[in-house]
């Protein structure tokens, strides 16, 4: 399966009368984006208002509460469209050509549940902890219709964000990309014949699926209702996996993370050189023990069936998913496949507590994304996109987190993407 990504570098975003991408600048007519977003019945029924703003790297801007971050892309050749099964029809994606508006994102903001949406600072110490401070962000702040239920509203804002990103992505359809790159994986036999001496490596990608607004969708399917299965890495580049998560901001995988998965990028970089990148195995993190057992059994079965030599396992979230992580790792090692896991830590503010809720001697190769409990102080920003009303309540905050002078004192957990468990950030440890 081969996909060509064409990267269109976006250097600025401007509000304008017309919508277009020209000489690296994205011109946006917010009313047109809004009209497209509100064509959806669920958005119309649940979202009272959506306002747009722009946040640029280095500006004294704080975006909060952040729900999702999405990279605008458009399918220009080959079957299907972006976000299959959700926005585009359910056809298989991951082949042909896709244009990417690089250097920018659509960010959805506004209260969903109030306690698990994050913070993105565009400058200062907070900006160092989030990859999204380096992007030009087109922020859509949503407010709910009175009396709407939280799960209906989460769905509506999720769709609103994806629709806005789809609309913006479409503007790149006829733009010449600045750079193109090919990504290709092979059938089982084909890959073995092509690279007979290279170790066979796959990526076990754990998807948050605890329910109660802790969900991930694959081709529109709620991941908690699926058994462990196989997906081609190029499918994820076309938005086959999307975030429906309101979980701790630091280690949730936004849709942007799924589109730009660094494990996928690094495995492709070594594909055909030091290893044979076989596929991705997607598995869930459910709240029933039977599901955890079944899904991790299935992960190990697939690893054995594919005759893998090694896998990288990435987690999403923390707490009971630590058990899914350890069960996957233990069972995969027991069928003779080597594992390395990527996780993060909740080791207390002093870093001295046990980092994970579960452990096993077979999980002996671990990469950490950092300690989410680490205290941080984020100075006041000149401008807030969204509202500071929930800063004391978001996971990692506490009563008094928002000081009267506008400074925020909280745990790293509050910052979107700070301890990402795909390794999409710069924190780690040796």
């Amino acid at each position: 399966m081969k996909l060509e990504l064409g990267f269109i570098q976006i250097k600025d975003i401007q509000f304008s009368k017309e919508c277009k991408v020209e000489n690296g600048t994205l011109y946006v007519n917010a009313d047109e984006v809004k009209a497209f977003v509100f064509q959806d019945d669920d958005v119309k029924a649940c979202v009272k208002e959506a306002c747009f703003d722009i946040a640029r790297p280095g500006e004294s801007v704080r975006i909060t509460p952040v729900k999702d971050v999405i990279e605008p892309r458009v399918k220009v050749e080959g079957p299907g469209g972006e976000f299959p099964g959700v926005i585009a029809k359910v056809d298989t994606v991951g082949t042909g050509k896709t244009h990417v508006l690089r250097g920018m994102a659509v960010v959805t903001a506004g209260k969903i549940v109030g306690f698990q949406e994050g913070v993105i600072d565009m400058t200062g110490p907070g900006a160092d902890y989030t990859p999204f401070s380096k992007l030009l962000n087109l922020v859509m702040v949503c407010t709910p219709v009175d009396g709407v239920k939280q799960h209906e509203y989460e769905h509506a804002v999720r769709i609103a964000g994806l629709r806005a990103a789809t609309f913006i992505g479409e503007l790149g359809r006829n733009v010449q990309p600045d750079e193109t790159k090919d990504f290709e994986t092979y059938g089982i036999k084909e890959g073995m014949e092509k690279f007979p001496n290279l170790p066979r490596v796959a990526y076990v990608h754990m998807l948050q699926s605890q329910g109660l607004l802790h969900d991930t969708y694959v081709y529109g399917v709620d991941a908690k209702r699926s058994l462990t299965t196989i997906i081609n890495p190029t499918e994820t580049m076309d938005g086959a996996i999307i975030s429906g998560n309101c979980v701790s901001a630091c280690d949730k995988n936004t849709t942007y993370h799924h589109q730009n998965n660094p494990v996928v990028a690094d495995l492709f970089a070594q594909h055909g050189k030091t290893l044979n990148y076989v596929c991705n195995i997607i598995t869930n993190e459910n709240v029933y023990l039977a599901d955890k057992q079944r899904s991790s059994d299935w992960s190990a079965k697939l690893c054995r069936l594919l005759d893998l030599d090694g896998v990288i396992v990435s987690q999403e979230g923390f707490g009971n998913p630590d058990t899914d992580l350890i069960m996957n790792t233990k069972k995969i090692e027991q069928v003779g496949v080597k594992t390395t896991i990527i996780t993060d830590e909740y080791a207390g503010q002093d870093g001295k507590s046990q980092s994970l809720a579960d452990a096993d001697p077979l999980a002996d190769a671990v990469v950490t994304g950092g300690n989410a409990n680490m205290p941080v102080v984020l100075p006041k920003m000149d401008k807030v996109i969204g509202t500071l009303d929930y800063v004391d309540k978001i996971a990692g905050g506490h009563a008094g987190s928002l000081r009267p002078d506008g400074t925020i004192e909280a745990e790293l957990q509050v910052i979107t993407g700070a301890t990402n468990e795909m390794g999409f950030n710069c924190l780690s440890a040796r």
Partner: protein, 63 residues
């Protein structure tokens, strides 16, 4: 009584009774009120049996 018994084993609990799910350890929203009561009673009875059973090693009392 807990849902994620592997964590109970990791932290060294002696008597472990597996329960339904993390958001509702002693209930199941898919059941009727009466069925849920019967389920809860079965789980608590099993936990009381576990408490009155001598154990030498960490033990999971399957329900």
């Amino acid at each position: 009584m807990c849902t994620v018994t592997p964590i109970s084993m990791t932290v060294g609990a002696n008597r472990i009774v597996p329960t339904i799910a993390i958001p509702h350890p002693l209930g199941n929203p898919a059941l009727t009120h009466e069925e849920e009561y019967a389920l809860r009673k079965k789980l608590v009875t099993r936990a009381l049996e576990a408490l009155t059973t001598d154990v030498k090693d960490q033990t999971i009392f399957e329900v």
